[in-house]
Symmetry: C2
Subunit: 460 residues, 2 copies
């Protein structure tokens, strides 16, 4: 039954806002394998994480509660930019000529320009509660560093960002916005840490890497009593915080009497996709929903579609805990031709588990198709999307065109995780024909996988 | 009576959205003086404008109707980003410790990043209706050029933007976003027009100016049958389109049972301020409201507070009609130290008339105070404001602090006309102590005013 009585944008009243996050992990049919200590290979203990995270976040990381209350101090800041609108893409539907009804949840209306702020806020809040006055982190493109800077400024905390050197130099606006929120931004490798000084001595011309920046941020946090470290994706507590996206979306869909048939999100570390689908997947596992869930990744970094399900490190140096996940190998770096984000070698544990158990689908798309979809969306829906988020748009358009062929009036929901206002160099390259496809080669895939860690008795 | 039961953000249901613009002009106690032909000094006729504007917009420019229906084809695109949220600034109030209740209407949630799209859409729509397939315009900072590019892309029209050369070179991202919406962007002066070629010959090293860019855009439009010209501020029809801001704000305030005591907006050409206040002023003039209306301008370009009320041209070359307005003289250029927009020498006729009749107030603020207010707002309200819009924030904070002194629980409403994502060079300068005040000097004021046009029998 077609329904065109839905307003363009659906919001929620104050009393309808979610007051808890949704944790999918205790509801999975098969449990996540335990994270392992990077050196002893023993199951990870709470104490192993206490030099860089507060107890409250470690408890969330290991939580088996389905609902985790959102503290009022977090809700106060969420209310500045939440609920994010659920938008019916009437003009895009009309342009495509599809009978499908397309909805998107837009997470870009905040100074970080993306969903990242959803986790930066509680991470800053819980650390402040624990008496921590200073947070460190790394940032590549800058979305996560900006998000943490915004959250720290609100709670009156110091924020120190190790920004990959090439980004620091090429993205002065991203640096400037973090500084506007009073963050201290170091070009990484920096002289501020031992690991940074060592690398600068050996490779003074290095353009830096996320791996180096993580090492610097962790060293800084571990070496000071008043300082902790914050990570913007991948970990369970980050995924839990991002469930605010799905919690709101479910309430908004219910409000207009819609049920999604297809739920789509882009996948880098997996946090926005996991956050969107979490409560819907809960319904599905309880037999109350029958939807398809599709994670979309770049063909240049196809973690789910071409990686393996194995224990791997989160960083290059092998200092992080080992987690069971889909991975291309911790040393993997996507082709330099790849323009957008979504460059992480691994994937959050919960998305990996769902994919391994065939409860979600995944697809990899080429970046010329992604930018083509982004431009269609920009014109038809009046929003310039981030290249990352445009992976989800690309797949939503594919599904809507399939509905056009079959005549099916499916309800498609996707997460538009951020805006593209800081990605205009990439758009400029696309406009001038300088964006080319760079699917992962078999050789590079084999090389990445050849370096997976060997764990006696577990992984050979 | 304090009331803290208001949600952070107030929206409108589909059926509550305004379906007409509000035209304040027929309700003014004293009429606007007639615009004059630039050469004959006779009252301007419809025919004088027909080579660059469609009849429908000329009719709006001269309309004496209070309500002008918004065509469904315009409403369709408005619905993508409207209603804009009316936000209660709870965190800012708490930070200031004021008993005032502060509300702001945020116009930045669209790809132009500002209120400019509110007029770009109907201008593109009416031109398309009139059989025009190509629009030209000028842009300085780029907000207006982006807005027109977005609107033209949606309606399938060609958009040609003459972008002041120094901006074209210093703001490649603004150029890129216009090109992403398929606009053709020329660095002005260009080889594309006679006036451009002439200036390039005489001054090959010129950095360009808005005056030159206007001349190029008008020449291009006047010389082609299929092409018209579009202007982003100042004119009556632009002000009418911007009344969507005030129409929505009035419905949103009514919905939560609030009545504004003080209404604030920044003033460049006056379109966002006029748009916000129009329906409220209608209520005030009918004796149903008792509010203060405050226009805020930069001390570097104090058109209302230090200019004179006289007939003046809109451009440097004296090719536009003469309009009665507050002006610093058409040759006026603000100090190079001035960082933000709001650089126009004149002011919309309706704002000028209201100010002359003492129905609104005006104040000029220094830019270091503006950036200080911007940073407070950015941290407390989680939105990076445009420097232009921050003039309104600055005054709203001043008024809220006055309420703190007196204990008055006033209701303050201001327009946050746009975001600052494309203004990070200015923020970076502020962060590094490179922003200084540049109030207009008496000498520069006298020089600007000495060149006002002489009109026999009207202005000596």
């Amino acid at each position: 039954m077609p329904r065109n009585d839905v307003p363009n944008k659906v919001y929620l009243e104050a009393q309808e806002l979610p007051t808890s996050w949704y944790n999918l992990i205790p509801n999975l049919p098969n449990p996540i394998d335990p994270p392992l200590h990077p050196v002893t290979f023993e199951p990870l203990r709470i104490e192993d994480l206490m030099s860089i995270f507060p107890k409250s976040l470690i408890a969330q990381e290991m939580s088996r509660d389905t609902y985790i209350p959102i503290p009022e101090g977090v809700q106060e800041m969420y209310r500045m930019f939440r609920p994010s609108p659920l938008t019916r893409a009437y003009c895009l539907e009309k342009y495509l000529g599809t009978p499908a009804r397309i909805y998107y949840k837009y997470e870009g209306n905040n100074p970080s320009g993306s969903h990242k702020l959803n986790s930066a806020i509680p991470q800053a809040y819980y650390n402040k509660e624990a008496g921590i006055r200073r947070l460190t982190t790394e940032t590549g493109a800058g979305q996560w560093g900006t998000a943490l800077a915004v959250a720290c400024a609100f709670y009156g905390m110091e924020c120190v960002v190790y920004m990959v050197r090439c980004s620091y130099e090429q993205k002065p606006y991203r640096r400037a916005i973090m500084q506007t929120y009073d963050a201290t931004v170091f070009s990484s490798p920096s002289n501020n840490t031992e690991v940074g000084r060592k690398i600068l001595e050996q490779m003074p011309e290095t353009s830096g890497s996320l791996g180096i920046a993580i090492s610097e941020a962790v060293e800084d946090a571990a070496s000071r009593e008043d300082t902790n470290y914050a990570l913007g994706s991948v970990l369970n507590h980050v995924v839990i915080h991002q469930s605010i996206i799905g919690q709101e979306a479910m309430a908004q869909m219910a409000k207009i009497g819609e049920t999604p048939d297809i739920i789509i999100g882009c996948c880098g570390g997996g946090s926005n996709f996991a956050g969107l689908i979490a409560p819907f997947m809960g319904e599905q596992l309880a037999g109350r929903l029958n939807a398809r869930f599709i994670g979309v990744e770049p063909a240049a970094c196809p973690t789910l579609t071409r990686g393996v399900y194995a224990y791997d490190y989160g960083d290059v140096a092998g200092m992080t805990p080992l987690m069971k996940q889909y991975t291309l190998g911790a040393n993997f770096i996507p082709s330099a031709i790849h323009a957008g984000g979504l460059r992480y070698h691994g994937m959050s544990q919960v998305i990996s588990r769902l994919y391994h158990d065939k409860l979600i689908e995944a697809t990899a798309v080429n970046q010329t198709d992604v930018f083509k979809a982004a431009k269609i969306f920009a014109v038809q829906e009046g929003l310039l999307p981030a290249p990352e988020s445009s992976h989800a748009i690309c797949q939503a358009i594919n599904e809507a065109l399939r509905c056009k062929e079959t005549g099916e009036e499916k309800v498609i929901l996707f997460c538009l995780s951020g805006h593209g206002n800081f990605d205009l160099t990439s758009y400029d390259n696309y406009n001038h024909g300088r964006i080319h496809d760079a699917p992962l080669s078999d050789e590079d895939l084999a090389l990445g996988l050849s370096r997976l860690p060997k764990i006696p008795g577990i992984q050979g």
